[in-house]
Amino acid sequence: MKQSKIRLDNVSASYGSADQQNLVQVLHNVNLDVQEGEFVSIVGPSGCGKSTILNLAAGLWSSADGAISGSIKVDHADRKQTIGYVLQKDALFPWRTLIKNVEYPLEITGLPRKQREEIAREWIDRVGLAGFEDRYPYQLSGGMRQRANIIRVLAYDPEIVLMDEPLGALDAHTRMVLQQQISDLWSASRKTVVFVTHDLEEAILLSTRVVLMTKRPATVSASRTIDLPYPRTVMNLKLTPEFRNLYENLWHEFCDLLR
């Protein structure tokens, strides 16, 4: 019996304060139910409120940001380190080396040095960053930093992983390599993932379900299950007729939303 991990019911959100006449409505009656073990991608035009949804799920909305209505439920949100959030910009600590960055979430829970080093090293190996443990972020390429950014979150084993356009700023080749790695990591762990992207192809390649958002004020306009088996080989999957079918199908809908 699957269980709902994140559930948004009729959520509307506006930035700004009502008295200042500059209230901007971003979300309008958003309904989203992410089940345990799903990999859900949220696709929508830039500025429609995708990051806002993740912030709401991560509990990062404060009353100073604006007004919200509706109900937001996140399973075990009160427990520490339930949620992992990969920001679009790789927010690595510039004064920590790669391995110390990955160790950070383990360090603050008081895990002994040896154990956290071991876990961090394992993740670093897994995404092909071995040999770069003692580099500072400025000494790493964009793709390496983004990998570090992702494994720093996975290293503490959160129950829910939120990713905000983690591959948005990368070149096509690095992007594909990391898509494959994310897909492999997911099919091995089957964690609950909410993945935000503006790239429909990427969404279909990685996800078990794709959610399309409308322009601002955004609402969910479509939700499609992607019934392609795992493990997936991103490079080959793109060329299969099953993928092309799904893609064309969603593409028309996606284009309608942009109009």
Partner: protein
């Protein structure tokens, strides 16, 4: 490639040495040296390199600089340390208590706008001819440098880093310790070189105005009896102190801020 690099370095070194040597030779020649008896630069006021060197060696061998050297170093180091500690503390206080910042802002701006050497007579008047008046003068410069850097450091902490740290489960103390502090220290250490230089300025200016010890005091005394050789000897010593302190702070900066990308200028 390597060879060429080291050759270039060597050539630069030779060129730099030549410029300095040329200036010294010109000074020596124009100020009555080399048996030319030119008086373009009157040696009574300008001395000349050979006489300065002789005085320096003589003074050093008799230990005539030791006491004043130690006094100046001690004074500036006290000013530096107190300035850094209080600058960081008050920086945090003001950043975390905005009302305090609002309350004192005009006062801070006014004080910081005051040319600090003008404080020297007042400080000597109040605190006397001893070390205290110089330490306070030195502190009053360093404090503002560190204070403003601390404040700016806190205000410019990357909000994404705080956000990330918070989501990963850091408590307030951990955010302070692992995000705010490193960020602030990077600003403070980046200003270390300037702080050190100004600590020395404060000490020497204080000694000029009223003191019984210190290199500034000895220089002022030598000037009073038209001993220009000694004036230039002390100038040279102060220059050396400045160079050594700057190099030490550069080394500390390099070590503590090695996580920063090297700026293209350095």
């Amino acid at each position: 490639m390597r060879n060429r690099n080291s050759f270039e370095k060597f050539a630069t070194l030779v060129a730099q040495g030549t410029v300095i040597a040329a200036l010294l030779i010109a000074w020596e020649g124009l100020a009555g040296g080399f048996g030319l008896n030119l008086k373009t630069l009157d040696p009574v006021f300008f001395s000349r390199p050979s006489r300065v060197a002789a005085d320096l060696i003589n003074g050093l061998s008799k230990g005539e600089f030791t006491r004043d050297f130690l006094f100046t170093i001690q004074t500036s180091m006290w000013g530096l340390v107190l300035g850094i500690v209080s600058g960081i503390a008050v920086g945090f206080l003001f950043a975390y208590l905005p009302w305090l910042n609002r309350l004192f802002e005009p006062l801070m701006v006014a004080f910081n706008s005051l040319p600090r050497p003008a404080l020297a007579p007042v400080l000597v008047l109040i605190l006397g001819l001893g070390m205290a008046s110089k330490i306070v003068l030195s502190w009053s410069i360093v404090f503002f440098i560190v204070f403003y850097n601390t404040y700016a450091g806190i205000m410019s902490v990357d909000p994404d880093l705080v956000k990330v740290a918070r989501i990963m489960g850091s408590n307030r103390f951990q955010i302070f310790r692992h995000v705010i502090m490193p960020s602030v220290f990077s600003w403070v250490f980046a200003a270390l070189r300037v702080s050190v230089a100004f600590a020395l300025v404060g000490a020497v200016v204080g000694e000029f105005v009223g003191s019984t010890q210190g290199l500034g005091y000895q220089m002022e005394a030598a000037r009073g009896v038209l001993n220009s050789d000694r004036v230039y000897s002390i100038l040279l010593i102060l220059m050396m102190i400045g160079v050594v302190l700057t190099e030490i702070s550069k080394a500390i900066e390099r070590r503590l801020l090695r996580w920063r990308p090297p700026s293209p200028g350095i």
